[in-house]
């Protein structure tokens, strides 16, 4: 059954997510709370939690916003492993 035009960003339950990230570590290192990062990036706190737990892949724009908050490049924050 076609699953409409919804991207794969949510299709991750029970699967090994190919995109890993360092957000939780960087956030703690910068002394930021999830809510503060969410406000800075323009998403909800629940979305930051989902990204940190690898349940959701952010859009490219949000990935750049997150990286900018930590003064890092996207490559330094996100890591993609081919499965």
């Amino acid at each position: 059954m076609p699953d409409c035009a919804v991207p794969d960003a949510l299709n991750t339950v029970g699967k090994k997510h190919p995109i890993d990230n360092q957000i939780a570590n960087l956030r703690k290192a910068h002394g930021l709370t999830q809510a503060a990062l969410a406000d800075a990036v323009g998403v909800t706190r629940q979305t930051i939690i989902a990204i940190e737990q690898n349940r959701y892949s952010p859009s490219l724009e949000t990935a750049f916003r997150i990286a900018r908050e930590f003064s890092r490049t996207v490559d330094e924050v996100f890591d993609w492993t081919e499965t």
Binding site: L10, V13, T47
Partner: protein, 168 residues
Amino acid sequence: MKFTICKKYLTYRDAQSIMYEIFYIGTSIMPFHEKSAWIMTTALLGTSGMYFAVIVSLSNKLGQLAPPLLPLIVIYTVALIVIAVVGHLLIALFSPKDANAPLDERERLIHQRAGHWSGLVIGAGVIFSLALYLFTYNGHLLFYAVFASLIVSTIVEYACQIVLYRTR
């Protein structure tokens, strides 16, 4: 036994504390739109349950399927709107900032996915209703079947949103 893991009896204060924790933590963790989905699911289940209970009761008295009654549908709609408005006012009072925030990218995907499943349900419901009419030629039954499909698809939409908010 020297150490006890938990108390044998819960005091009133323990129960009060647990309820507070559940409500406070639950509502503070949930995003506004998930709370909204909970309210709408509860409101739809409650009002629709009452509506169809009245229809069943009327049908039993009449000895046949009761016709759709406009006053009953008006009462149903008004009750649903009142519960939805009061519920949303209450959650907006607790989190006014979230209430005005638009959906973020993950929430938009969740709503799209839920809408997709809801669309499938209403499609199947309408096909079933039409088939039911072709076999029974009962207009009242057709009305109830389509109405129920609409309600079920809406409940499925909100229920899917809740599940997706909690799992993804």
